[in-house]
């Protein structure tokens, strides 16, 4: 059936900021959907609050609304654009929840829009666990015993019926958030309360536990002719009990026989038909009892998902793109298979390789949470690896994780025989290393299986790696048998590791491999196991006879991506790499992308001319380089991942494009850089390096407390802290030694109440042009990634900004920057300090690009291949006629018990943008977009430390004027009363009951302003903040943030929310520029 002509415009709902459970896979899906719908000739309207996405680039939609994803705002967009249809199924849980909210409010009907892909009843069936369970029973499928509870007593009654242990799954939450396992009565209340609170509808499913069962997922697609296919089967290595997003998974499934698999496939089709997903993709999860073979349906997602992104990358079958085409009327047999160019989408991909996905966690950022895995997803990113077999894929995946230690070290950490059994039986982020350790210590496969419930097949494969390593250690590089060496490489053992085991240098290993003709070859991912020729170069490496890379002969540029998402290195860098590919392709280069993150747009085979899905390690990158021989490699766009390789690549003779690795190193090396700044007469906070406690204390004495301390070479402010006195510095130093063994700790004078500024510029080596300047809303000391910020600055005097531009330009030329550079300044008592310089793409670049409408990364890429700013035509800092506020989002609700306090260590996972002509309004939009409930009235509780008391007065006055009642603890209350404000006093927790936490629990407080006392958060404070977090009461932890919030609330009470597309904003700006020229 041809495309539908009865609809002309489609509103695509994006998924908003990156959060745990919803990351850049939805940028990948959404970008594909927008692209293909536009190509089909529809007017595409996009709503997504996340500015760091490719999909919100203005060329991917006709109207792009970077606005908060809340029903009110979507209604405004519907009002302005009057689309014919909404596509809710590519925007994750956010898209589904919005669509359901709009249905409930009657707006779908009121605006006469159609929900494409899945209608309201299908969405509801997929999401409402009770309805779903009943539907499954109705079509004769097996499900775990379960029931819905909306209160503690209902939950308790259900558990009496089902028996312990049970799994609690809150309704309508993302990535299992708020859920958990209850093993005994004492855990009942905590888990159930958490789940009922987390659910927006206040209900949770209490489900019979199938812990330890094998877990499977099928990615199913259906079209309107009722054709259905399975794109990919996935088997979880970690059995039931660990969220699939936290499991190591394998594609295709490995341990089911054909009848077992085909029956599961039949059931998956029955599910998608019963739920009523008319067109598009769904993810259906099953559990299989390894003893009896009994199979139960666990859940289904009537939309594209993280798993569907993984399945797309694992097979070469682009699920989101096809789903979008199906949504507008095509059938599977009408859509061409991109990779073969000849066959159609109506078939099932077959894999002649093995794919492994491994999650990456950030537990180190949330020390109060145990790194235990359960039904609530905790990982922040993932890596996918493709290998000729499971062992190779697993080892490639582990090396692509870029852990802070080598694999061998990770294993020895886990190998303490006393705790090993517990490390195996309790799922946690490093369990895979415990499995290696146990097998190496002589545990049998059956013993490890008994402890972990991991299928014996996976364990035997891992055991084989261990056996090969053990055998290798008996030989030297000159005597090792060729067959053993071949087995080792076939099993994914890295050259570095081989060198260790054979007791030689890595060079000697490479020579031995060459001698024995053991070759790394590149093969294609082609959906069909080579049955048809593949025209799309989507490649991975393995060891074998034949290489299919078939490199082109044109001028080539290789772009190194940013690897798995982690806190501090996420979608922003993928955005940059994608832009480099787009712009250099357009400029006539053949682009080669190297990355191993399955969630991203960069690993879409459509993004670059050639895609190598490989770990970003020296061994793998050099192998690709040697095969392709590009004229240069770009390392400055993918964050720390490629930068870490830059020096080594250069030493191996690889030409690095743009700013030299030495200049990058110069900027990162505190000593060299300090000298450079002194030479230039530029101020920086006083600082020093310490390798011992004594040294640290003496340096601190010299530069004065408070000091910022951090290990050298870290990402996202890892283990960074502010020490206010000798006692806290001592504590830090004791703790820090294991953070960065052998490396000194850096101490900087902490500039109190300083304003922090981010400046990004482009430089071609001769000229530097500023792209944009962001003023942080939180004062210096809060990690720049965690601070809200505004472009352009709203409170820094123009002459200071001018001086910063001049300093930044001078530094860029001095460093010889070719490409992008970021400078972080602090303004302290009228002086400008340089905090750091990053001669590479920074986290703020996509935000500035989105605000200004300038393709900054495309420009940077062209500079790196030799163009000048003049040739590109970027000679002037873009002017802005409104405020663009960036607000971070935090994963604190996933890590209960951690104080949601901001500091120098980055904790946010993503960000949103709020735009308005008024600063307060822009801030409010960003605040809402970041998922906060913004109160327009009620009571604000204020409790601030002495340093903040002056500033807090202004906040209190502003909020009181807006109509808020004030509540405060004694000290703050006294101060506010002195200023003539009316304040209700409340006891601190330590002062006896009723106290402030009681007031919070009783719903007496709608907004909290709570700054930590002396940097040492007291128990009292922490309890207030964690309670607020649990109850969803917005809690601002800096006074400057509170001031911005007050502005925001005031503006919301006045003007409310308005919507404007980026395209219209750019037009306004252009018009104003023209007007000013004419005037």
């Amino acid at each position: 059936m041809p495309r539908r002509d009865d609809i002309r415009s489609i509103l695509v709902l994006g998924s908003g900021p990156i959060v745990i459970g919803q990351a850049c896979e939805f940028d990948y899906s959404g970008t594909q959907a927008c692209r293909v719908l536009r190509r089909e000739g529809y007017r595409v309207i996009l709503a997504n609050s996340n500015p760091a996405t490719i999909m919100t680039d203005p060329e991917f939609a006709d109207a792009t609304y970077v606005e908060p994803l809340v029903p009110d705002m979507i209604e405004k967009i519907l009002e302005i654009e009057r689309p014919d249809a909404i596509l809710p199924t590519v925007g994750g849980q956010t898209g589904i929840n919005l669509a359901l909210a709009l249905s409930q409010r009657g707006s779908i009907e009121r605006y006469g829009v159609e929900l494409l892909g899945a209608n309201e009843s299908a969405l509801r069936l997929g999401e409402d666990r009770l309805l779903f369970k009943d539907a499954m029973l109705e079509i004769g499928l097996d499900v775990p015993l379960s029931g819905i509870a909306s209160s503690m007593s209902e939950a308790s009654a259900l558990i009496d019926e089902i028996g312990y242990p049970v799994i609690v799954r809150p309704s309508f939450t993302l990535g299992g958030e708020g859920g958990g396992v209850i093993f005994n009565r004492s855990e009942l209340e905590g888990v159930v309360t958490g789940a009922l609170t987390a659910s927006p509808v206040g209900t949770a499913l209490i489900e019979q536990s199938v812990l330890g069962w094998k877990e499977y997922e099928l990615e199913v697609i259906r079209d309107q002719a009722d054709n259905a296919i399975v794109v990919c089967s996935v088997e979880n290595v970690d059995p039931m009990g660990v969220h699939t997003g936290d499991s190591i998974t394998v594609a295709p499934q490995q341990t089911l026989s054909d009848p077992e698999y085909q029956q599961m496939r039949d059931e998956a089709f029955a599910v998608i038909r019963r739920v009523g997903v008319a067109t598009g993709g769904s993810n259906i999860q099953f559990a299989v009892d390894p003893q009896s073979g009994r199979r139960v349906v666990i859940e289904m997602n009537p939309r594209v998902s993280r798993s569907s992104a993984l399945a797309s990358k694992a097979t070469g079958f682009p699920i989101a793109k096809i789903a979008a085409q199906l949504a507008v009327g095509y059938t599977l047999d009408e859509i061409r298979n991109d990779i073969t160019g000849k066959t159609f989408a109506a078939f099932e991909p077959t894999l002649d390789y093995t794919v492994v996905k491994i999650p990456r966690w950030a537990f180190e950022k949330f020390p109060a949470s145990p790194n235990v895995l359960g039904t609530s997803m905790k990982s922040v990113g993932e890596v996918m690896a493709i290998g000729g077999n499971f062992r190779e894929a697993l080892m490639k995946g582990l090396s692509g994780l870029e852990l802070d230690a080598e694999l061998g070290q990770m294993e020895s950490r886990a190998s303490d025989p006393v705790t090993l059994r517990r490390r195996l039986s309790t799922p946690h982020g490093e369990r895979i290393f415990a499995v290696f350790a146990a097998l190496r210590q002589g545990w049998t496969v059956d013993e490890v299986n008994a402890a972990t419930s991991i299928d014996r097949w996976f364990l035997r494969e891992i055991e084989r790696i261990v056996r090969i390593e053990t055998e290798l250690a008996c030989w030297s590089v000159d005597t090792v048998p060729a067959a053993l060496l071949r087995d080792a490489k076939h099993s994914g053992i890295a050259d570095q590791r081989l060198a260790q085991l054979l007791g030689c240098a890595a060079d000697a290993v490479r020579r031995a491999l060459e001698e024995h003709e053991i070759r790394r070859v590149f093969k294609r991912v082609d959906t069909c196991a080579a049955e048809f020729p593949a025209t799309t170069p989507y490649l991975y490496s393995t060891f074998g006879d034949e290489d299919e890379a078939d490199p082109g002969s044109g001028e080539k540029v290789m772009i190194l991506g940013s690897g798995p998402n982690r806190i501090g290195q996420g979608i922003e860098f993928d955005y940059c790499c994608v832009h480099a590919a787009f712009s250099l392709s357009k400029a006539g280069f053949e682009t080669i992308m190297v990355n191993c993150n399955p969630e991203t747009v960069s690993t879409d085979y459509d993004t670059s001319d050639r895609l190598y899905f490989e770990p970003l390690t020296m061994e793998n990158v050099l192998a690709i380089y040697e095969r392709e021989r590009p004229s240069g490699v770009i390392v400055q766009l993918g964050g720390q991942t490629p930068l870490k390789l830059a020096r080594g690549l250069e030493a191996a003779g690889v030409p690095i494009l743009g700013t030299s690795p030495d200049a990058i190193d110069l900027a990162e090396d505190r000593k060299r850089f300090g000298t450079l700044l002194s030479e230039e007469g530029i101020l920086q906070p006083r600082h020093g390096n310490a390798s011992s406690l004594e040294e640290a204390l003496s340096i601190a004495d010299e530069i004065g407390f408070p000091v910022v301390v951090r290990p050298s070479y870290v990402l996202g402010g890892r283990a960074m802290a502010v020490c206010w006195n000798a006692a806290s510095l001592e504590r830090y130093m004791l703790h820090a030694t294991d953070v960065s063994a052998g490396r000194p700790v850096l101490l900087d004078r902490f500039l109190q109440n300083a304003t922090e500024i981010d400046l990004d510029l482009l430089c071609d080596g001769r000229t530097a042009v500023v792209c944009g300047i962001l003023e942080h809303i939180e004062e210096a000391g809060i990690h720049s990634g965690d601070s809200a910020a505004v472009l352009p600055p709203h409170s820094v005097p123009p002459e200071l900004l001018q001086r910063m531009r001049e300093i930044a330009g001078r530094l860029a030329l001095r460093l010889g920057v070719v490409g992008l550079m970021n400078v972080q300044f602090a303004v302290h008592e009228g002086e400008i300090y340089v905090l750091e310089v990053n001669p590479r793409a920074s986290r703020t670049v996509p935000f500035i690009a989105k605000a200004t409408g300038q393709p900054l990364v495309s420009f940077a890429s062209l500079l790196m291949v030799g163009r000048t700013l003049e040739e590109i035509g970027f000679l002037e800092e873009p002017r802005l006629d409104r405020y663009f506020v960036k607000a971070p989002v935090f994963p604190f609700t996933r890590f209960p018990g951690n104080d949601p306090l901001l500091g120098p260590e980055m904790k946010s996972t993503g960000e949103v943008m709020g735009v308005s002509e008024d600063f307060g309004n822009a801030f409010a939009k960003a605040w809402i977009g970041a998922g906060n409930k913004v109160p327009l009235q009620g009571t604000v509780f204020i409790s601030v430390n002495d340093r903040d008391k002056d500033a807090a007065v202004a906040v209190a006055q502003r909020l009181a004027r807006t109509g808020f009642s004030l509540m405060a603890t004694s000290g703050t209350a006294r101060r506010l009363r002195d200023e003539g404000l009316e304040v209700r006093s409340v006891r601190k927790v330590a002062e006896g009951r009723p106290h402030i936490v009681d007031s919070l629990l009783n719903g007496e407080v709608q907004l909290i302003v709570n700054t930590p006392l002396g940097g040492e958060s007291m128990v009292d404070d922490a309890e207030i903040r964690t309670t607020a977090l649990r109850l969803g009461i917005p809690c601002v932890t800096t006074v400057s943030g509170a001031m911005a919030a007050a502005h925001g609330i005031e503006s919301l009470r006045g003007d409310g929310l308005s919507a404007r597309s980026l395209q219209a904003i750019y037009q306004d700006a252009a018009q104003r520029t023209r007007d000013s020229v004419e005037a």
């Binding site: 002719a225 009722d226 054709n227 296919i229 089967s233 295709p252 490995q254 341990t255 089911l256 026989s257 054909d258 009848p259 085909q262 496939r265 390894p290 059938t331 599977l332 047999d333 000849k342 066959t343 159609f344 109506a346 078939f347 099932e348 991909p349 077959t350 894999l351 002649d352 390789y353 093995t354 000729g388 077999n389 499971f390 299928d455 014996r456 097949w457 035997r460 084989r464 056996r467 090969i468 053990t470 055998e471 048998p481 060729a482 067959a483 053993l484 087995d487 076939h490 070859v521 093969k523 069909c528 196991a529 080579a530 049955e531 048809f532 020729p533 074998g544 006879d545 034949e546 299919e548």
Partner: protein, 392 residues
Amino acid sequence: MSVSVAGEASREEGVLLLEDGSCFRGWLASPGKRFGEVVFNTSMTGYQEILTDPSYCGQIVLMTQPHIGNYGTYAAAEESERPRVEGFVAREFTEVPSGIEGRPLIAYLKQHGIPALAGIDTRAVVRRLRQKGALRGVIASAADDREQLLAEVLAMPEMQGRALVDEVTCVEEYELPADGDEIAFLAVYDFGVKRNILRSLCGAGARLRVLPARTPASRCDELGVDGVVLSNGPGDPEPLHEIIANVRQLADSGRPLLGICLGHQLLGLAMGGSTFKLKFGHHGGNQPVRDLDDGTVAITAQNHGFALAGDSLPGNCRVTSVNLNDGTVEGFEVEGAPIFSVQYHPEAAPGPHDASRLFAAFLEAVRRQGSGAGRGAGDAPGEAASERPAAG
């Protein structure tokens, strides 16, 4: 040549040598030297069903999924009483299966004397077969003389023109009861029938009389069957002149007829059509088949190296479905007669169940025909047959 690797028993290096002289090195997981036409199968599960499918007689089968043997072997997965392939090739064979029950695949292959070659760059072989078409080849020890081997490969007959049905058909007739209520009594011509065809028919309510391939059509009259099924089987259908003539008689008898795979090709030839050899055939579980009547697509299991030429069929034959990838004929029917035929495997095993309703549809046609025309002569089913244990 053998080396000890990681404590495993010593293993013998082996090769897959193709008629074009290309040679792929690996090691012999199960020893032996066997010749055959080399084909690749893209199914990701169901290796034991493939091994035991009689249609693979005369062929060395290479699996594209790298890990083969993961869940072991078990009796219910056998599509005939033993492995029928000449040899088996994969990247990796699992030594100890996942579960506690399955028996290791390699032990099964060794027991049946089927050589298995592991450690091969299977994708390189597939790409060669794709470019050159199915090739004759041999699995042998790496120590064997290559030139001698190549000469032997070139001396073996090509698949085109090879009649292999007699090697796999049953020796004697046997009968299988219907599961539950009997809807119809059918004859199944065993050209190398897969057990799941029999199981599917019994499951749909048919009592079956399984007949050796060269049983004359008149036997069906004697048995008084309500319909006839022509099974799958190996080799080239074209040289099976006697069988083709017999099928023609069956078609003219007015009884409902269902052809599957080789049975479909024989039916086409009997109707006056012609067949041709596909370049490298269809062997896998992901072949899309478009129903020309309602436009829907079924994902099917297939295993064939020959195909019916669509334009060769006479006017009274109507093509009902085609392969979406290459447009080859996947099914036809004879107008005005209850005769259907499909190139794919509705019984799957291994593969998707999308087309399994075909058996019920055929039985429905048989039932309709029966109520209209009544049964033929000799209305005494089963009396002359020797009983054999159920193959299903």
